[in-house]
């Protein structure tokens, strides 16, 4: 299991490996923040006083508040650490949901074909052409009413914009794999459609999903923050959210108060960069056109020149 998980790292070399390792490290820090937020964060995300002493308003970074406090008396470092929990929960939820819907629908649509396929392609293409932030805005705007501005509403709004991506990729791979010899062979031995899709096609069309999922996760973080910035994301009383904090910082920036804006933004940049690096790194290991494998030592058999030709190849 561990060996399989580490395979992408082992298969790469040079820059690609560094990109992957750096990405994993950055992401891991935020995942740790997310899991252990109550123990790592010095204060709660909506705590405004400690031991009966109220926090100062918009205090610059100090020993007591490492990254300062904002206009709502909150401790910024704590908001960032708790925010990691919010962002990662929402994004994980939305990516999982999008995969769970997009992959099977894409697989079935590509395999079955017909008019359902055509209608779905058209619908998904239209959704895909739409600016994703605007789509998320519309969904968040609608879901805010019935679901309130919570984690579930935000995750569903993001799910809606990522489903078309999985659908498109999985469907197009399915369409090209459908006529492959191994599928024909499966059909010849009497496999039913469900079996062919589940046992034969699934493993082959799923290859590029991890790459898309990581890149989507990166994108989802910035869209979630954007929704928060526009006041459509998670409501401040429910959880800490970086985008919301940045919208509060808007009025302070021109007055030269930099810490309320700098740190939550840096958190977004780091997490998005980390996830993007993981995606790029994975892409370089999965995508054969980008892959540069390490050179292996060439072992030349000493005797029998006829077999030496066949086995003594250099892997490139």
């Amino acid at each position: 299991m561990l060996k399989r998980l580490l395979a992408p790292i082992r298969n790469t070399s040079g820059l690609a490996r560094w990109i992957l390792v750096a990405g994993i490290l950055i992401t891991a820090v935020f995942v740790i923040f997310a899991i252990f937020a109550p123990w790592i964060a010095p204060y709660g995300f909506k705590q405004v006083s400690a031991n009966g002493v109220p926090f100062p308003k918009m205090a610059p970074p100090s020993g007591q508040h490492w990254l300062g406090t904002n206009d709502q008396f909150f401790d910024i470092l704590s908001r960032i650490i708790w925010g990691a929990r919010t962002e990662i929960t929402v994004v994980a939820l939305s990516v999982i949901l999008a995969v769970l819907v997009g992959v099977p629908v894409g697989l079935a649509s590509g395999f079955v074909g017909g008019w359902i396929d055509r209608v779905l392609v058209f619908l998904m293409d239209a959704l895909y052409a739409f600016p994703s932030l605007l789509l998320a805005i519309v969904f968040a705007f609608l879901l805010q009413g019935p679901l309130g501005g919570g984690i579930v509403a935000a995750a569903l709004a993001l799910t809606a914009i990522y489903i078309p991506q999985y659908y498109r990729v999985v469907r197009s791979t399915t369409v090209s794999a459908r006529e492959a010899t191994y599928v024909e062979a499966a059909r010849a031995i009497g496999a039913r459609n469900g079996t062919i899709m589940g046992r034969y096609l699934f493993g082959n069309v799923i290859q590029s999903v991890p790459v898309i999922a990581t890149l989507n996760a990166a994108d989802a973080i910035s869209i979630l923050a954007s929704l928060g910035f526009l006041g459509l994301g998670i409501q401040p009383t429910q959880a800490a959210e970086w985008g919301y904090d940045l919208s509060r910082a808007l009025d302070d920036a021109a007055a030269g108060i930099w810490w309320t804006a700098l740190f939550p933004g840096l958190a977004i940049v780091l997490l998005v960069t980390g996830l993007t690096l993981v995606g790029e790194g994975l892409n370089e290991t999965v995508n054969p056109t980008l892959r540069k494998r390490r050179f292996r030592k060439v072992v030349m058999p000493t005797r029998e020149p006829s077999t030496a030709l066949a086995t003594g190849e250099v892997e490139v």
């Binding site: 820059l15 932030l133 519309v138 021109a254 007055a255 930099w258 940049v269 960069t273």
Partner: protein, 340 residues
């Protein structure tokens, strides 16, 4: 008639015809989302402020008491005539909102593309030429970070940097300029130039710098990546090999043979970026309190004004689709392989 001369108009015709179902799907999605969703648009926006009779009157005026398919037909008919309905919260035609604020969004996005190309193309070419060296890594990192950075954060950081020098960080022009420049085209920059008031023009341009740079930085990452990858690909092309084989110095090989081909896809990508730019404009406008359509959208989202949101989102959708068609046509004009 030869196949070559007949195929271009046919391609364009097909492409334009394909737009109609595409826009139809987008419109249907927008309509279904905003109309069929639970909650009444009128009460969501002005509920509690008006008497039940007044609300019923408004609903009747907006046609909300009609069956859904009638509303849908009405909506499509209106969109065709560029009538996006009236806002509920302040009862203005949405098209007026677009007219009054569209100019600011237009100049913002054009300025952003100029910055994105000015920054993105040279950096992309440099990174491609120096593949896998330190400058390449640095430039790629720059591209990743500017793309990763939320646009409003980039904007905030720029504001913090320039605010001490008194550079304008807010709105499209000073109140004085807005008062002095007469409205002709609803595009303030153009109006200021027409009025011949140098001071006003300069003021408007100064106000443009930060928002355009902010949005441009978001877009430039895409161009860096694209130009870099294309340069790498075209450097592997046979014609580059051939040029090298003829003994042409490397810098001419790159400049004359590889660069040019690496730049062709930029035009396509400009079109694809329109969607991203529209989304970015909404955020940029909120950050700089820019009087564009995006800021209006945010305002109406806050007011929970379904009609205004529907109208403005429809407008964005139409713009994105039209831009994608224009790009395809331009592509077909410059690249014969597209139209076969």
């Amino acid at each position: 008639m030869s196949a070559g001369s007949g195929s271009l108009p046919r391609y364009i015709g097909q492409r334009v015809l394909l737009v109609i179902p595409m826009i139809l799907v987008l419109l249907t999605v927008v309509f279904l989302l905003l109309r069929v969703a639970p909650g009444n648009p009128v009460t969501a926006s002005v509920g509690g402020k008006l008497s039940p009779q007044a609300i019923a009157l408004r609903e009747h005026k907006l046609g909300l008491d009609q069956p859904l398919y009638v509303q849908y037909g009405e909506y499509l008919k209106n969109v065709v005539t560029f009538n996006f309905g009236n806002t509920i919260s302040d009862n203005r035609p949405v098209i007026d909102v677009i007219r009054d604020n569209g100019g600011a969004t237009l100049t913002l996005t054009i300025g952003a593309f100029i910055f994105a190309l000015l920054i993105g193309i040279p950096l992309g070419l440099l990174a491609g030429r120096m593949r896998d060296t330190f400058p390449d890594v640095l430039i790629r990192l720059f591209g990743v970070v500017t793309y990763a950075a939320p646009i409003f954060w980039t904007g905030l950081m720029l504001v913090i940097l320039v605010a001490p020098w008194g550079w304008p960080t807010y709105d499209i022009a000073s109140p004085e300029t807005k008062f002095l420049v007469p409205t002709h085209t609803h595009i303030l920059l153009v109006d200021a130039i027409i009025s011949g008031n140098m001071g006003a023009t300069l003021d408007v341009l100064q106000h443009h710098l930060l928002p355009c740079l902010t949005l441009g930085l978001l877009l430039c990452g895409v161009f860096i990546r694209l130009v870099r990858v294309n340069l790498l690909q075209s450097l592997q092309g046979d014609y580059v090999e051939a040029a090298r084989a003829r003994g042409i110095p490397e810098k001419f090989v790159i400049r004359r043979h590889a660069f040019r081909n690496a730049l062709v896809p930029v035009i396509t990508v400009i079109g694809l970026q329109v969607a991203l730019t529209m989304a970015g404009a909404v955020l940029t406008e909120k950050t700089f309190n820019w009087p564009g359509i995006g800021n209006q959208l945010v305002k109406y989202l806050d007011a929970r004004d379904y009609n205004a949101v529907q109208g403005l989102v429809t407008f964005f959708a139409v713009v994105v689709v039209i831009a994608s068609v224009l790009v395809d046509i331009v592509n077909a004009l410059i690249d014969p392989r597209v139209r076969y």
